[in-house]
Amino acid sequence: MNAPSLSARLLAADDRRLWLGMAGCAIAFLVVVPMLNLAMPPDSALHMPNYMVTLLGKYLCYATLALAMDLVWGYCGVLSLGHGAFFALGGYAMGMFMMRSIGARGVYGNADLPDFMVFLNWKELPWYWMGFDHFWFAALMALAVPGALAFVFGWLAFRSRITGVYLSIITQAMTYALMLAFFRNEMGFGGNNGLTDFKDILGFPLAEPSTKLGLYMLSALVLGLAFLVARFVVTSKLGRIMMAVRDAESRVRFLGYSPTWVKLFGFTLSAMLAGLAGALYVPQVGIINPSEFSPANSIEIAIWVAVGGRGTLVGAVLGAFAVNGAKTWLTGAAPELWLFLLGALFIAVTLGLPKGLLGLWGQIRRKEKAHA
């Protein structure tokens, strides 16, 4: 399509505040955090400890995942309860690469096979592990596999006009089935333990704080990029069609649009973003295993989005940070009570803030205006 429209669209987006906010976030995440981590002496109050950087890196991946979720749920009205699967597949792709990078440094010293295969008497590397020695291939797969799965699955489902809870449940069935499948040691993905014992990524040792900082910054960049892509989509006419599909799918058909393709576009794009998030997540946490496929994980993703504010991209990001931040804090500060507190938070948000945390922001702003 015509190239100027792209930049015109991105720049013409009406909300100046949004762009200022984005710039602010970019500075905070890409400049301030690294500076506080590197330049401040460790005993300074302003020092950003390494574990915080790792933690933030993890949140950034979750935020990207939430963004992906919001794209399909908030805008297309497709409540996917299987988004964890796309995230996990992206993670496995990256995990496979890092597994291959271990080479002969594994415990059994076998250069051709990962430890878990040696130990389960695998004689040779299965065909689907081929190519994962190359970073570019793994990176491609981290996008392509979730994308392809979403495309095929979505095509079948949307074509058959599966909507609402029916769709939610079969996406849940999908991730559940994948979880069970990845549990099976015969699958060749390390069974319950999954992929672990990673040493380095592209030659950078994972244990090094500098590698962690690098991964963190990459995650921040990817989140920013994902945000721009998502924003481009939802502010386009396609975005409005998505919303129309969400509200009255059958009516959209009579206008000549095909909801199948609209949703398929959103679903596939979202799955790819989720896969990307997963691929960045795994090197930062150091393990990927089938529990990432568990239905509860996928439900949690929806919860982040709902807490932050569904149908607002910023809200999704906010929700991911808020819920995970609360979880980190509470599991340490109130290990026996945190479920009460988190549960209460969810209930309070639903009852008090129907539009999520972002809605709260809107409410405050309206009040300010009223006062001014």
């Binding site: 400890p49 059994y108 389960l120 333990n193 014992d197 244990a207 979880k327 599991t331 340490g332 026996e336």
Partner: protein
């Protein structure tokens, strides 16, 4: 503050593993409480930092990092499942932390930063099978290896299969069955076991079924009328704590192999049980093997700290080697240089009151093999963290003598 020594407690208090792990958190708290009552450690108060990794494996890593980097704990007591241990392992190695892991597991690991106080397969599985093959055990000829589908059962069964075959058991006399976590419909499998056992040869089930799946499994066994004197089931993951959730009236005689039973008569054990019941304020609470492992681990760590005069990890690690603690069954546990313990092996039969009655006990303590001799790749490896090996998985020493 400087007058306290912090220890981390990294056990799930919510989620699927809370069923088992909460008890271990309480055990550590009891030990901490006890040591503080007795004047603390190096003259300082010990403070337990409890976090909840919520049965979520990435969260385990996050919390481990938090404990080590933020809380700066001297040692961590935690983890139950192998995957949680795998998840925190890089964190402990990177930050040079110290983890005491108290659960029986599949072996094939020896990290410089972990002390394994639970049983390795040769301290549990193999003696159990030996017992069943003996006259007292019923001279079992046919075997069902039933487990939850994950590493621990897979490894254990692999080792057992190799072992059984080395004892002349034919392939058709071994049935292997795996089920998902939390499997709760055992009708078909129990019926299959019954069928398998009806071939006219003495049959036994070796169960590495884990966690939630056990209650429905045993209920189904009882209801389908599988009696211990016909087809005994020997379990490696079912202890007193698990039995407390099951009506054992119809399960009398089924077996379990551990390194500890609550029913063992020994002064240390009596004291421990009494202390536990007081601490937890419930006279009905039971004790179990991972609790003993936690107890041993904690005791050893305090002794090592005292010996080293510091909580510095490297110093404590050195002091750990050869450290001895009276275990609760009347013997002595020794920490070997492969970071695993020497422990006695006990085989017990389930009683109607939910306790185990010891029917066999190893003559001596058995030293854990970190690397199993029954897995060819593993047989070559050795774990020894002292000179000249200084290695958890090496085919030859790091330093030439």
């Amino acid at each position: 503050a400087d007058d306290t020594i912090k220890v981390g407690v990294l056990h799930s208090l919510s989620g699927t593993m809370a069923i088992s792990e909460t008890t271990l958190k309480d055990t550590v708290l009891m030990m901490v409480d006890d040591i503080n009552k007795h004047g603390g450690l190096l003259g300082k108060k010990v403070e337990a930092v409890v976090v909840d990794p919520a049965s979520n494996w990435p969260l385990f890593a996050e919390k481990a990092r938090e404990l080590l980097e933020k809380e700066k704990v001297a040692a961590v007591f935690g983890c139950w499942t192998s995957v949680s241990r795998k998840s925190v392992l890089p964190v402990f190695e990177q930050l040079n932390g110290l983890l005491f892991y108290p659960v029986q597991y599949e072996g094939e690991e020896s990290s410089r930063n972990v002390f394994y106080t639970g049983a390795a397969p040769n301290q549990q599985a193999i003696p159990a099978v030996d017992y069943l093959m003996s006259k007292d055990g019923g001279e079992v000829k046919r075997w069902v290896l039933a487990g939850t589908d994950y590493v621990y059962p897979r490894t254990t069964n692999k080792i057992l299969e190799a072992y059984l075959k080395s004892k002349g058991v034919k392939a058709e006399d071994i049935m292997i069955n795996y089920t998902p976590f939390g499997h709760n419909d055992w009708q078909t499998i129990v019926a299959d076991i019954k069928k398998f056992g009806a071939a006219g040869k003495k049959t036994a089930v070796v169960s590495t079924i884990n966690g939630d799946a056990n209650v429905p499994f045993y209920k189904e066994l009882a209801n389908q009328g599988i009696k211990a004197d016909q087809i005994p089931v020997v379990a490696f993951s079912v202890g007193e704590e698990e039995l407390a959730g099951i009506d054992t009236k119809n399960l009398v005689g089924h077996l379990a192999a551990w390194n500890y039973f609550q029913s063992v008569k020994a002064p240390e054990n009596d004291a421990f049980i009494a202390q536990w019941k007081t601490f937890i304020k419930n006279p009905k609470r039971v004790t179990n093997d991972p609790m003993e492992a936690t107890y041993i681990g904690f005791k050893m760590w305090t002794q090592a700290v005292q010996q080293a005069g510091t909580t510095n990890v490297d110093a404590v690690r050195q002091a750990m080697y050869g450290q001895k603690v009276k275990n609760l069954t009347g013997g002595t546990a020794v920490m070997n240089t492969n970071h695993h313990l020497s422990k006695p092996v006990l085989i017990g039969e389930i009683q109607a009151n939910g306790q185990m009655q010891t029917v066999w006990k190893s003559k001596d303590v058995i030293k854990a093999d970190a690397w199993s001799p029954y897995i060819p790749e593993s047989a070559k490896l050795k774990a020894d963290w002292t000179y000249p090996w200084v290695c958890g998985n090496c085919a030859e020493p790091k330093f030439k003598m």
